[in-house]
């Protein structure tokens, strides 16, 4: 059985799954229950001077009847007194000494405030700090959260202040609301950070009520931009993770966050360099019980593949992300339809005809045979048909032997290598405007 234990920047955890800082980690009761159910760690909801929340604070988008594929919030940091939070953190750590208990912090931007907070929080026995430089709503208006995370100079300074007094690992949580996340990651490292975590939530307006024209969430007829998260943000998080993991100037542990909902997401984050994983929305949607399959699925997959521990997977995909100019122009694909599996929905035809390269031919249903077939000479191997096909394995992309060695755009543009012959653009669209 695979070993799921991780040591993240010196913080031990029985498995890589931590509850991210947020509503699920607001109290002793929640975190203790999560640990009992199998979570490896928890990043306590950000501790700072208690705030006042508005009542209505979450919004979400559905896809058909699938609810909450994207989620946003305008909730602020903890609304509980600092001493209550710190007391409960200490109690949790005492009761669960082998679990990772990380304390998220956010205070105003001055050295003394940070020193005071770090020293107080350190007394709880917490395993590490996560500096919240990411929240894009509310707190940023007061010069905290994303306001400092968007300024590499501030970020570096604050990390430096924290490191002056911290005796435990310091993680900096980065905001994605920035042009190049690597700049702040580098600044964090320069300030002395032991690790970074990413991504925090994305600036968003999640929808508009068409009866009242009030954006969501509706707070008495008004709304405010919130932080976007949930399954829909995973690709953005994976890209920022990849950029940070491959940046030679960063090279410190990264805790992956952003839409992780199942063990597959988790394995993908690990493969792109994450050393621990943080989950919030999925737990808010389905409860802490999801930890069972997060661990079980990951462990079974690792056993099946022969991976013994997380380190064996971590970062395996990092080097496979490259610039477009390094991709092989002689890697030719063509779609192939397994007619025995085809259920004749013609979705591939509609997609290719209107949305791609008109490389699928329709055959009359009356013939009783196949209703679609690939026009090989027109197919550019774009994958669209295989993506819209509702039958697993029915449309597959197959590599065509081209008889030439790989050649990248960079090489080809420099006069090196040979481009394999490509079919002339074949246009088979049959539509003609009627009079």
């Amino acid at each position: 059985m695979a070993d799921l234990k991780v040591n993240f920047a010196g913080i031990e955890s029985p498995n890589p799954y931590w509850l991210a800082s947020g509503p699920p980690t607001n109290t002793y009761v929640q975190v203790a229950k999560a640990f009992d159910l199998g979570w490896g760690g928890a990043v306590w909801k950000t501790v700072g001077e208690p705030i006042l929340n508005v009542f209505s604070r979450y919004g979400s988008i559905d896809l058909g009847s699938q609810r909450m594929v994207g989620f946003n919030n305008i909730e602020l940091i903890s609304d509980r007194p600092i001493e209550d939070n710190l007391r409960e953190i200490a109690e949790v750590k005492k009761k669960y000494p082998k679990h990772a208990v990380i304390t998220s912090l956010m205070v105003e931007t001055n050295q003394k405030a940070w020193h005071d907070m770090v020293l107080r929080a350190q007394d709880t026995g917490t395993d590490g700090f996560e500096l919240n430089f990411g929240c894009p709503h509310g707190m940023s208006e007061r010069g905290m959260g994303a306001a400092v995370g968007q300024d590499p100079g501030y970020a570096c300074d604050i990390v430096g202040w924290v490191k002056q007094v911290a005796k435990i690992p310091v993680i900096v949580k980065l905001t994605p609301n920035i042009t190049d996340i690597r700049l702040v990651a580098r600044a964090a490292k320069k300030g002395g950070a032991d690790a970074v975590s990413l991504i925090n939530t994305i600036n968003s307006i999640v929808g508009v009520d068409l009866d009242t024209f009030t954006p969501l969430p509706n707070v008495g007829g008004k709304s405010s931009h919130g932080g976007y998260c949930g399954p829909a943000v995973k690709p953005i998080a994976l890209n920022m993770l990849s950029e940070t993991a491959s940046d030679p100037e960063v090279q410190i542990p990264i805790s992956g966050i952003g839409g992780i909902s199942n063990w597959r997401d988790a394995a993908e984050f690990i493969s792109l360099g994450a050393g621990s994983l943080q989950v919030c929305t999925a737990a808010m949607h389905y409860g802490f019980r999801i930890i069972d399959d997060l661990c079980d699925g990951l462990s079974n997959w690792m056993d099946e593949k022969g991976y013994k521990n997380i380190e064996e997977i971590r970062g395996r995909a990092v080097s496979k992300v490259t610039k477009w100019e390094n991709l092989d122009l002689n890697y030719h694909l063509v779609a192939n339809i397994d007619q025995d599996l085809c259920i004749r929905c013609e979705l591939c035809w509609a997609a290719c005809e209107d949305g791609a390269h008109q490389a699928i031919r329709r055959l009359p249903r009356e013939f009783g045979g196949p209703v679609v077939e690939i026009i090989d000479e027109a197919c550019v191997g774009c994958n669209l048909c295989s993506q819209v096909c509702p039958v697993q394995g029915c449309i597959t992309m197959q590599q065509l032997p081209v008889g030439e060695k790989p050649v990248t755009w960079k090489e080809y543009n420099a006069g090196k290598g040979t481009l394999a012959p490509r079919g002339d653009a074949v246009h088979t669209a049959t539509w003609a405007p009627h009079k």
């Binding site: 058909g64 009847s65 004749r344 979705l347 509609a350 329709r362 509702p390």
Partner: protein, 469 residues
């Protein structure tokens, strides 16, 4: 002439069933339960989930399978986006009887049977229930989905306010032709009102659907029998075109001795009585036998059982495989506890002052006949009596030949165009008896043909325009 009476529902007059009750009716609360909606509507969440499952096929097989070619993926997509008005319009544009079809269509052999999910070894999309969901909304909100066309000055008489006549009327009104519908019954709807099993659809629903059509400005003359109250020739002269959509004539007789005994009735008369009276006023026997195994026979036998008959039995001369009733209907009857006696040929109705039994012989399949189909051979010495105190005929109806003959109309098989100039035919009197959806398709085809005959421009449906694009 009777006044327009499109909505108010009243029971038809006349002694439909001069039958005494042979047993006490069940309590009304029990009867209400027995005749409750057999396929309850989807709620909003269920409709959203079901519509999400639809793949939105291109040139969808469900659409092709529907005789009226409702653009099923399109109306389902609109349910999914919360555009119920648009969804109902897609349905009722293609099929003005889209609501009754949602309740009474044999969908497992039409749209749902064609759903591609069957090929993925899954349950098909619940198209009928989604169609009902959208059209329920239109009916509940009394939506006005269509507008009459600019008046053309042409006027059309439609004989029969059943599904074919109403479907034709909707399209003709949208094209701008004046329409007058003549119907023998007190209220419109034809078999939708008077002949659908009560647990599938109740008369007020059929009337609401008819009202949507009539509200486009069709004149309706209910309670008028063409050929008795008004001469067909007069209509032919007075109107620019006439549509004959008179349905079928009465049930064929069994042609055996004793058929005239009290307690022997037509299944359709029984169903019509049930649908036009409080449930406890329709007499039912303790032991009911229905002769025939078509869908009407099923409607009769199941409803007899639901009225309280101790036993309700189908007697059919051929075997289960040749039974005309749909598989769904067969299963429904079995679930209701009805019995089936296959290979049983009625010979004589037994009784002195009332039916007490049906004398039958057994039959079996013999060698192929001239048409290649196996002949039916009676088994010697197999005479036996099936006891009953109520016997119903459900052995098919004639094509209303008397009406057509007296009007001088000859039907050209499969064509809505008759041999008489500017006279068109649609519905069961053309097909010999089919589903509501076939009647609606006929009615629409007739409207298109009438429009062309009257010099109108061809009208393209939304779907036609989409296909052209």
């Amino acid at each position: 002439m009777p006044q327009n009476n499109p909505v108010a529902f009243s029971a038809p007059q006349g002694p439909l069933l001069p039958e005494p009750h042979v047993m006490d009716p069940l309590p009304m609360t029990q009867l209400e339960e027995n005749f409750a909606d057999i396929a309850p509507p989807l709620n909003r969440d269920a409709a959203l989930l079901e519509s999400t499952k639809c793949l939105y096929c291109h040139d969808a097989p469900c659409m092709i399978a529907c005789p009226t070619h409702i653009d099923v993926p399109s109306f389902i997509k609109k349910i999914n986006t919360g555009n119920l008005r648009g969804s109902a319009r897609v349905i009722l544009d293609a099929n003005p009887m889209g609501h009754s079809c949602a309740r009474a269509c044999p969908v497992d052999v039409l749209c749902e049977g064609a759903c591609v999910l069957n090929d993925r070894d899954e349950e098909p999309i619940k198209i009928a229930l989604l169609q009902r969901y959208a059209t329920d909304y239109a009916i509940e909100k009394s939506l006005r989905l269509f507008e009459p066309g600019a008046a053309t000055g042409k006027k059309v008489a439609i004989i029969g306010a059943g599904p074919a006549g109403l479907s034709c009327a909707q399209d003709l009104r949208r094209m701008g032709h004046a329409v007058t519908i003549f119907d023998a019954h007190p209220v419109p709807g034809g078999l939708n009102t008077y002949g659908i099993a009560e647990y599938k659809m109740r008369p007020p629903i059929a009337l609401a659907e008819a009202k949507m059509v009539i509200d486009l400005g069709a004149e309706i003359k209910s309670g008028v029998t063409v050929g008795r109250d008004v001469a067909f020739e007069d209509l032919h002269k007075e109107y620019d075109a006439v549509l004959v959509a008179v349905g079928l004539s009465g049930t064929r007789k069994l042609g055996i001795p004793g058929e005239e005994l009290p307690g022997v009735i037509d299944a359709l008369a029984f169903i019509e009585h049930l649908k036009t009276h409080p449930y406890d006023e329709t007499p039912v026997g303790r032991n009911v036998v229905v002769v025939g195994a078509g869908n009407t026979a099923i409607d009769a036998v199941t409803q007899a059982k639901r009225l309280g008959a101790n036993a309700a039995t189908i007697v059919y001369r051929r075997g289960e495989e040749e039974m005309p009733a749909y598989e769904y209907e067969f299963q429904l009857a079995k679930k209701d506890g009805c019995a089936f006696r296959f290979f049983t040929v009625p010979k004589r109705v037994i009784g002195t002052d009332r039916v007490t039994g049906l004398e039958c012989v057994r039959s079996q399949m013999g060698p192929p006949g001239a048409d290649g189909k196996p002949t039916l051979v009676e088994v010697p010495n197999s005479t036996h009596v099936v006891e009953c105190d109520m016997l119903m005929r459900a052995t098919g109806q004639g094509r209303n030949g008397d009406f057509l003959k007296s009007a001088g109309i000859t039907i050209q098989s499969g064509s809505v165009v008759s041999t008489l100039p500017n006279v068109f035919v649609a519905g069961d009197c053309l097909s010999g008896g089919a589903e509501i959806v076939n009647a609606a398709a006929d009615g629409k085809a007739a409207a298109a043909a009438i429009n062309l005959a009257l010099g109108g421009q061809p009208v393209m449906s939304q779907r036609d325009r989409m296909i052209r694009a």
